[in-house]
Structures are given as structure tokens and as C-alpha cells.
């Protein structure tokens, strides 16, 4: 596997469960030792006994783990002490990035999963690492917290130039922050592409299945002035770059007594990209 992660970018790793992403991240963070092969990181070869590269790295692998009887603040202090940092200000600055709802002085065992996840991310970024590795960071977060996290990742990436490797099944969240996407299947990197390219390749479209495709096509062209559509097979019409909102199209079809059997709107280029990649890899 040869991951091409550029300095300062946000690189997403996506794959099905048990594709080997967490294993890869554990190898990168030194939790697992390679049985064969070698790992090269920051341009240096990482052997079984290497450890100095870890000071350039922050990570949250699988679930966030803490000394549960200690407060969030104490956990961060312990983390700082292990790394030779005793400056409270650095920890207070990191805490300001994420809203811990005033729980930082409560024992971690009283935290919700989402709060632990946030604290885990704060711990990973408190030292402003060169490389930040996040494994499923969106897990357990509500939509507002996910939005906050996206913002924090972007800020860290922009302000400190931190390179981020992130693995998640929340494709719609990744879509908004990632620069490059790597698709892993069965322990192998099957595709690696820039998000911009994926977006450019993927056109948003609406699929319509009606009882009368001729009448629908006529209506779309003559009445609604939609030029970019394609009749795929009987009853199914794909509309590209629709100038009208979906509900308007539906209204018009209903007004003209056309029965709509199904309507689907494709908005997530990354999701389709992954599905295509997986289809491709299964064929092989």
C-alpha cells in the first residue's frame, strides 16, 4: 500500500468495515508492529523499535480512552506531562476549540460518548501535531457537534498546517472537508483521487420513474424547458442540471396527470464514487 498524503492536506480513508483501515492506522501509530514489509513516514523508515516520530503525531484510534476517574482537564495535564509540557495555557487554548459544556473539571466517567470523543480530539491536537490521525471521529456526535468538529479540523489544518488522515463512514461530512480520498478494500488501496476531481466527474442528477416516459419527456422539454435529460429505459428519466427545484417538477407532472412511481435525487458524489469503486473491486 502506498498512500500519497501531501503535507498540509486532509486525506480521507474510506472503506467497508474490516477493510483494514484501523489496522493501517494502528500500524502508523506504532500500536501494531509490522510482521513484514516496512513503513515510511515523514520521509523516514519506521522500524519495529522506532518511537521518535510519534512526537509529531496526534491520534484518536477507535474509541477515545481516558483515566475515567480523573477529570478531563487532569487527563489533558497527564498527556502534557508525558510530552514534557506543563503549560496550562496550551491546554486551556485547546479546550477553547471545542465546547465541553463546562464538564472539563468533572470526572471523565460522567461524560457522554460524544463528549469523550471531543475530549479525545482535544488531546490529539493539544500539541499541534504535524500529523493528525483520526479514526471514526464523527462516531457518536450529533449534527451540531459534527459541524463543530469539521470546523475544528479545518482550523487546525489551516492555522497550523497540520496534515490530517481521517477515516470515517460519514461520507457527507468528509465530502465537506477532505482534499483527497483513498479507497481501501480488503487491505489494499484501490483508488486515490482528489475530492475536486471526484466532484467534477460527478454530476448531480434526478432520476424519475413515471407511468409515461414519452409524455414526461415532452413535458420536460416543451413546458418546463429542461434540455439536459436522458431517457434511460422505459419509465426512467435522468435529469441533469435541473434549472427547477424538484418539487416544481413534481407539481407539473402531477398537474398533467403523470403518475410518479419513484423519484431519487443524487447529491453525494463521494457516496457514488465509493459505491462505484467497490463495484469495480468486486468485479476483479
Amino acid at each position: 500500500m502506498n498512500l500519497h498524503v501531501k503535507r498540509g492536506e486532509i486525506h480521507s480513508l474510506i472503506g467497508q468495515n474490516k477493510a483494514g483501515i484501523t489496522s493501517l492506522l494502528k500500524l502508523l501509530t506504532g500500536l501494531w508492529k509490522p510482521t513484514s514489509g516496512e513503513i515510511e513516514l515523514f520521509g523516514e523508515r519506521i522500524d519495529k523499535n522506532a518511537y521518535l516520530y510519534l512526537e509529531k503525531m496526534g491520534s484518536v484510534i477507535e474509541s477515545p480512552i481516558f483515566y475515567e476517574h480523573r477529570t478531563g482537564f487532569e487527563n489533558l495535564m497527564i498527556h502534557g506531562a508525558y510530552l514534557g509540557i506543563y503549560d496550562h495555557l496550551q491546554i486551556i487554548d485547546a479546550l477553547a476549540l471545542f465546547d465541553l459544556q463546562g464538564m472539563e473539571h468533572n470526572p471523565v466517567r460522567s461524560y457522554s460518548f460524544g463528549l469523550k470523543q471531543k475530549l479525545g480530539i482535544i488531546r490529539a491536537i493539544v500539541m499541534k501535531p504535524e500529523l493528525l490521525i483520526l479514526d471514526e471521529p464523527m462516531k457518536g456526535l450529533d449534527p451540531i457537534e459534527k459541524k463543530e468538529l469539521r470546523q475544528v479540523i479545518r482550523n487546525i489544518n489551516h492555522q497550523y498546517g497540520t496534515t490530517v488522515i481521517i477515516s470515517s463512514h460519514h461520507l457527507e461530512d468528509l465530502e465537506q472537508i477532505t482534499d483527497t480520498v483513498g479507497v481501501i478494500h480488503d487491505g489494499k488501496l484501490i483508488k486515490e483521487e482528489a475530492m475536486e476531481q471526484i466532484k467534477a466527474k460527478s454530476l448531480a442528477y434526478i432520476d424519475l420513474t413515471t407511468d409515461d416516459d414519452h409524455k414526461t419527456a415532452y413535458l420536460l422539454e416543451k413546458k418546463l424547458h429542461i434540455q439536459h435529460f436522458q431517457v434511460l429505459h422505459s419509465g426512467q428519466i435522468r435529469i441533469f442540471k435541473s434549472p427547477l427545484p424538484v418539487h416544481e417538477i413534481v407539481n407539473q407532472l402531477v398537474t398533467h396527470h403523470i403518475q410518479i412511481h419513484e423519484i431519487t435525487q443524487n447529491q453525494h458524489p463521494l457516496e457514488r464514487y465509493i459505491l462505484n469503486c467497490n463495484k469495480g473491486s468486486e468485479k476483479h
Binding site: L31, W32, N49, Y51, L54, Y67, H79
Partner: protein
Amino acid sequence: MDMVKTDWKMYLLGFGLLNMIIVSCIWLLLHAINPADMKLMYPIFPSYRFVYEWIITASKFGTTIFEAVLLVGIILNEYKNKTILILFQYPYPRWKLLLSKILLIGLLAFTFFSCTTVVSFIGFMTMNTFDAMIYEPITSLLSVHLILEIMIQGLGTVAIGFIPLFFGMIHKSVKTTWITSTLLAFLIHLPINAPNERMIYGTKPILYIPLAIAGIMVTVHFIYQANNRDVS
């Protein structure tokens, strides 16, 4: 070191209680049992040597249990709660992190042993000044020879106390560590010799030395394994 203030209070409470139990037991032995009967069993009764043997046996017993508390708190729980995953992501060699934990446990256990022995002895001597049972002079017992003996006994006890780590780490089980350590404390450190022998308490060097070596081997094996294995 992951010990909060409440843990320290607990350890200090345990230390205080152990000392009180030791001194009270010796006091009862000296007062409640007929001296003639005791002399039949223990020819050195009543003497400071007799008191010392009792104290050292109880200290060994207490230290083995105390060391198990430390093994569970400082090593086993790190594995059980998976906080070891965080420790192993710090930029230090794993063996150094684990060796520092082992040395910390050893140091704390040795301090516990020495303090228990000395405090119990001082406690007994203080009580003896109010209600004298032993009249022999104390100078010889405070000799370098005795201090050296306490140190050697302490180091041996601490080394033996690491044996439960081997069994506890098989399934990262706190229960197994407790059971092994309790068995060890009962089988090795409690009186095992027949009456009328000079060394009534403690174990003979023939058993004690190999067990101490086994304890050291367990720590080496633990560090070697943890250094080379995947953690998840």
C-alpha cells in the same frame, strides 16, 4: 503514575492497620500465652529475635498483598481499561515506560516492607517500655547486620511479589492476580517449619532464592513481550 489522593489515603490506612495488627498480635502472644508453652514451641521466646521474626513474616505477607494492589493499579488496570494504548503512543520506547512502572512498584513495595518492619518494631519497643516483657539489651539488634538482613529480605519479598504479574497478564485478569498473590503470601511467607527449629518463620533460602529469581524473570518476560507485541 496513576494514583489519586484517595488511593494514597487507602494505602496509608492499610499500612497503619497492618502495623497495628502486627504489634497487637505480638503483644497478645507475649501476654496471653503461657511462657512455658511458648518456650516449648519457640526456644528463642521471649526475645527481640522472636519479635523480629514475627514482624518480618507479617511484613512479607503484607508486602506481597500490597504489591498485588500496585500491580493491579499501575499495570493490570492500564491494560484492562486500555489506557496502555495511549501510553504506547507517546514518543518513548515501550520498554522504558514499562520498566519505569516496574521500578516504581518495586520501590513502593520495598518502602512499604521497610517501613512496616521498622514502624512495627518501634511500636513494639515503645509498648515494651511501658509494660516490659523483654529485658535483653537492644543494641545488638540495631546493628548493621540486622539492617542488611531487612534489606535482603525486603528485596527478595519484592522480587517474589512480581510472580502474580505472570498469571494476571495471561488474560489481563485482576482476579487472577489477587488469587495468585494471596496464595503466594499464604504458602511462602507464613510459618512452614516444624517447631523447635531456630528459624521458625519465613522460608528457607533454597526456596526463597529461586522464587526471587522467578519474580525477576517474570518482569523481564513481561517487558519483552509487551515491547514486541501488538496492543489492541
